[in-house]
Point group: C2
Chain length 789, copies 2
């Protein structure tokens, strides 16, 4: 299995580091070279192959691939979790600064020189990161990279402004702060947000087309409405063409309906036809069209994205493969080379797992991995390896009596009767809570008293958790999402009880979370399991969409704060039609004075937190025109543009979210139909499982190879594998590699047939692997540039 120590790499990388070697190479092709220099050049190749594979995994384009030893060190510096973390923290700090900058959240207000200095520090960090990037990419690639260039110019601008603020000791109108999210979006960890933004921009052209149709009908109806209703002096909504357009825009969001209709309706009952026709066309037809068009684009984009990612990974694998094969054996990667690669690609991986991953890839059983074996690289790389247990239960090795007890518990918790008994308990608990809460209507200070029912039900849940934990073993128990949910709800309930017992008032709300237990009832029906499982699968993507939305919110909040801070207050806006909503007056009712509040002055842009709440209210669109009209009456008519733009932007994002949820669900349903597989059955094994068998002799050989040829000292994982082999007393042991199933796996299965076509097309349009060899042999300096971009 060990191959000769004198194998020479087919391609030599980073020419300036070992240029001597290359020249030597060129002269004495098959000659063995000094061991040391050869090992060094192999290490170089391992590292570059690992970088290619990383680029494939992260969907980094190959033209940003480091080309020299200098670039390599910068690349390595900029590609580790410490650096990513720093990047993220800097960006978050910059964004959080707006909490402390005027207009600040009261209890977080900082002096100007404090927050400006903090800002300068953070900007300096960003500048440092950019310098590292410049060093890694080289000047030429750096200025070609659009996102980086935008970031650089924003950075420069912010620097200048921060210095100005520091010099003047006061904040000026800084709308450019709205650009700060760019730093966050550029973070390595925010790749999902970047993808979302790209998707939004891709959906924009068709969206804009339909939006134009929408606005067109709006203008037509505005003209019509102005002509029909402007003669009515009691109608403030259609008295000018501008008001007419604004009214219909707001009506489109259903926000001022029926108010806007009422004056006209009161004068002539038939005028309702105008509004009914308008709403039917705009709201029930064109708005749905918008969704349909975005959904359709989305569908196509999702597939294209999957395709390009797949091909990018394939090309990364091909690049890595060329670097791992030796001149002597140009069509196979040996365990030695694979192990070398893995030491760079996954430094923390144990020697045993590296060996098992190699075995998993090596399906043909030959000593070398062919390219077609190697194509499966990304499928096996995330596997967690475990020896297949001889027995079924965690308590198999316990003494007989204990075994029987645990076996009994195991059978109990697995029985249908136990499950349904628990459902019954949960249902009774639910009804109990409802009745109890209803009885509290007469104002008992209920939070002080621990109701006995709380303790009873909690005891039952606690016993259930304990039984399941002991019956199934912690590993099996926690491997199922639903059990995790049960466990955490029960633990929360306990915490609530403790909070009650020790009278910790701020934690009372934990008690209130009890009804969440009822969610367990939804496990009974298959459809709910499907839906909730899909929900959990969607969660990461939903979170990234939420973050995208927050980024938009942030920019709008900054702009809003710069222009509208302090504009609304109680009893302002008396000239507008919405003055009532801002009124705060003392009214005498009978013999006591009551404060009658309009409350809408609370929806302001006085600091970033208030702005976020206000923007959320605008997103929900009910009564948003009250906020708009209030602010407009205090500033100028131009303010309406801000609110309308915000509405359209959130409309885009929300439509994308709807399209995304639709797409994800329909995909899941189609998938389950196509594969006739009951999705979401909680008892079902849902991960991807690879099996590989290791014999004693193989294990011994491998340990030998690692110890003597590769001179790796940390072999504890391999030794323990060997020990397990000896203990079980059989000549071989089966290891199972598991990972959870991802969307990509589902897509692979869905598009099975098309994928073959893509691969063929891909290899037609690219150079053949053999040609690439030839080329790179002839001109070693281009070996690392990529043949795709």
């Amino acid at each position: 299995m060990a191959d000769g120590d004198d194998d020479v790499p087919l391609i030599l990388t980073w020419d300036d580091a070992n240029s001597g070697l290359v020249v030597e190479e060129e002269e004495r092709t098959a000659d063995p070279r000094p061991q040391n220099s050869l090992r060094q050049s192999w290490e170089m190749n391992y590292q570059e192959a690992a970088i290619y594979l990383q680029e494939g995994e992260n969907n980094d384009k190959f033209f940003t691939h480091p080309r020299s030893a200098n670039a390599l060190s910068a690349y390595l510096f900029a590609h580790n979790h410490l650096f990513y973390m720093m990047e993220l923290l800097t960006a978050v700090l910059l964004m959080l600064l707006s909490l402390a900058e005027a207009p600040a959240v009261p209890f977080l207000r900082l002096d100007v020189y404090v927050h400006a200095t903090l800002e300068l520090l953070a900007l300096a960090m960003v500048a440092f990161e950019l310098c590292m990037k410049l060093r890694w990419l080289g000047f030429h690639t750096f200025i070609r990279h659009k996102r980086t260039m935008v970031k650089t110019s924003v950075l420069f601008l912010q620097f200048v402004e921060a210095i100005v603020v520091l010099v003047r000791q006061t904040s000026h109108l800084r709308v450019t702060r709205a650009l700060r999210p760019i730093f966050l979006v550029d973070c390595r960890y925010c790749g999902a947000v970047r993808r979302n933004l790209r998707q939004i921009f891709q959906s924009l052209p068709p969206f804009m087309d339909i939006l134009l149709l929408l606005l067109f009908f709006m203008v037509i109806f505005a003209i019509l409405g102005f002509c029909l209703f402007s003669s009515n002096p009691a109608d403030p909504y259609f008295n000018t063409l501008e008001n007419s357009i604004v009214s219909l825009f707001v009506l489109l969001t259903t926000a001022n309906f029926p108010d806007v209709m009422m004056p006209a309706y009161s004068k002539n009952r038939w005028s309702c036809i105008f509004f009914i026709v308008y709403l039917s066309i705009e709201l029930y037809f064109i708005m749905n069209l918008l969704l349909a068009v975005v959904f359709d684009t989305f569908n196509g984009v999702e597939k294209m994205k999957f395709k390009s990612l797949l091909l990018h990974k394939r090309s990364a694998i091909e690049h890595a493969f060329q670097l791992l094969v030796s001149r002597q054996r140009p069509d196979g990667v040996s365990l030695k080379q694979f192990d070398g690669l893995m030491r760079f690609y996954r430094p923390r991986m144990a020697a045993r797992d590296r060996f098992l991953t190699f075995k998993a890839l090596n399906q043909s059983g030959a000593t070398m991995l062919s390219l077609s074996d190697f194509y499966k690289f990304y499928e096996v790389i995330g596997l967690k390896w475990k020896a297949r247990r001889s027995g079924e239960y965690w308590f198999d090795d316990l003494p007989r009596t204990a075994f029987l007890i645990f076996k009994g518990i195991n059978l109990l918790v697995k029985s249908k009767a136990f499950q349904y008994a628990m459902y019954l308990v949960v249902a009774i608990n639910g009804i109990w809570i409802l009745v109890e809460t209803n009885m509290l209507n007469d104002g008992v200070s209920w939070t002080r008293v621990v109701p006995w029912s709380y303790i009873v039900f909690l005891t039952i849940y606690g016993i259930e958790v304990l039984l399941k934990l002991t019956g199934l073993g912690p590993m099996t128990y926690f491997s199922l999402g639903w059990n995790l949910f049960d466990f955490s709800v029960t633990v929360f309930a306990f915490l609530g009880l403790i909070a009650l017992a020790f009278d910790m008032e701020p934690f009372y709300f934990v008690v209130v979370l009890r009804p969440l237990q009822l969610l367990r009832l939804f496990k009974i029906k298959q459809r709910y399991r499907n839906v909730l499982d899909t929900m959990f699968e969607l969660f990461p993507r939903m979170a990234s969409l939420g973050l995208t939305l927050i980024i938009f919110y942030y920019s709008f909040a900054i702009v809003g704060m710069e222009f509208f801070a302090g504009v609304v207050y109680p009893n302002c806006c008396n000239t507008s039609t919405v003055a009532d909503a801002y009124r705060q007056i003392n009214v005498t009712v009978g013999n006591r004075t009551v404060l009658e509040e309009g409350y809408y002055y609370l929806n302001n842009f006085n600091n970033i937190l208030s702005s976020f709440v206000t923007l959320f209210e605008l997103t929900v669109v009910n009564n948003w025109y009250i906020t708009m009209e209030g602010i407009t009456s205090q500033t100028s008519h131009g303010s309406r543009l801000y609110f309308m733009t915000f509405y359209i932007v959130t409309m885009v994002v929300m439509t994308i979210i709807v399209a995304f949820i639709l797409d994800a669900f329909v995909f899941r349903m189609n998938y389950s139909r196509k594969n006739r597989e009951p999705l979401g059955d909680p008892e079902e094994e849902k991960g991807i499982v690879f099996e590989t068998e290791v014999s004693q002799t193989e294990a011994l050989q491998t340990m030998d190879l690692y110890r003597h040829t590769l001179r790796i000292t940390n072999l504890s994982s391999l030794q323990s594998m060997y020990a397990a082999l000896e203990r079980c007393g059989q000549p071989s042991l089966v290891f199972l590699g598991r990972r959870s199933r991802t969307k990509s796996d589902l897509s692979m299965k869905m598009y099975e047939e098309e994928i073959q076509e893509w691969y063929e097309e891909f290899s037609r349009t690219n150079l053949q692997p053999d040609e690439t060899f030839q080329q790179s042999l002839n001109s070693p300096e281009v070996s690392t540039t990529d043949s795709i971009n």
Copy 2:
């Protein structure tokens, strides 16, 4: 081509009508029988085959097939447009009665004895229709037919109630009037509405599941909200558990947000988290889930519907085929039989078209139609036949000079330059209208004056229409939807001008429709053409969905009127939180008195028209809780149930509408992708075209056959075909049969491969045609019962 007059039908139908013949038949199998009786039995068979084909077309189940001569006469009586019309009118009359019944629309109020008598008359009509149906179906089938049974019992109830009203001379609480739409739904012409209702009911189970999840979260949050906010005396929204639930229900529709949040927000700013989390889960997640689930179900249902329709038609064709073949030639239908069938199936069809349809079916060129030819029956039946024109233009036959002039006009109107010039004119017109309307802001009584721009633009449009009409010929011109649109807008504008000139005030609004011309600009872009074409295709289906919605509205309006008529009025509802919206007081501002109106008292259930408007407002959901709270404060808390039920029902229907639009669009896009066909190109021929060639001898033979064998006297269409053949001077003439493409045609192409599987499965699970023959020969009385149901 003519077959022997002594052919004997393979199957004899309606045994009681010709039982003697059957007995005879059984005895002397191949013997020729008296001509007259034979002809009679053929006619019977033609009629029954035509009925089968009708049943296939209308998707009527075969178990309602008439079984005897008696039933046949009832069937024929109940299946013609006169009867259908009567059915429809009766149902509409019944529904319209609610305009005149108390609480009536003021100017339509009728005395009790008048509308009760009218109702009795209409009900008697319905009873008569039901009697005909009973006669046709027979008692046994009648009581098995669910819809009919429901209709009968509703009829009985209504009868009793109408008589009670007539006797008491006053209307009592007649909630059962809400059932009146059943008579409409059961009409033959309302098949689309029935299908929609079925689809809604099919989507209900998954919908209900998710709705339960939605309500579950609502209750959990209601409990949480009650616990958190009930201690705040200024918060009327969460002071009891019931209010808490209602508030969150209304919040779910986004209707009372941010109002419902404000008291809590004013007390503690962090309470906004509760509302944000609630809305994010309910509105942005579960509501979308609802759409996703309905969309997915919808998708499946649409395909299943298509499949079952297709198979039903196929089985109808098989039934008809058996009735048309003769014992002598059991595997082919001759022209004679086909013509006999068509005389029953399409009585108005000309002899020439019957002949050409036969030719179109007969693709093999044999003298008989085989079963596989006959399967295409429904594809060719709607074709409109026309001889292929020798020349291209309508003015080909005109003298040389006229030809050149028209040819010039033709080239002009087809040129790109002309098109773009017209786009420019339309754009200028649009800008002009905007500017003009904007300048009118200062209140000139603009409607009296005809602006000169109006006349100028109208003249240009008029000239364009004339040029296009003459250049393309009226047939070509009107065959394109866009031209029809241009034409009607221009004609409307002319009518507006006339109205202005003759000072007809009520028609002024026509003038205002001018901006619709701008819609033509959307022709420029391919996407708009796609979208608008799909829109036109969707229109019939949208209309039927609208009608379905109106039926729901009607039922709810009746219930609303029975319980809430006269309940709200100006200055009512002073005890509710929404009293302001109902206030109507005189306020002194400065030195003049202004009427301050809340207007919401106009949203009432005082008559059916007001009810419809109110229900539309509830559908749009903004501020619907004002209407709900107003009425609740005047009646009881139970009234809320009415409004919530209405909300959920409209939610179902609206979700279906969205799913339908989505589905239709995605289907179109997929179709156009699959067939790589540029959809929506206005210049493209989009119908289905069949070609068939007729030679002179063939025409002569056919005329002979018709005249002598079939003894049909009205042969003018055949004669004119022969004349055309002679005139053109060629031995044969090609006829083109055209029809517009339907959704069914698209589906046929989309599911091409699956359809073959369906057919195979269908023929496996059913008896083989040959077996059916044997069966029916052995027991003639079951020949017409169907083998599927």
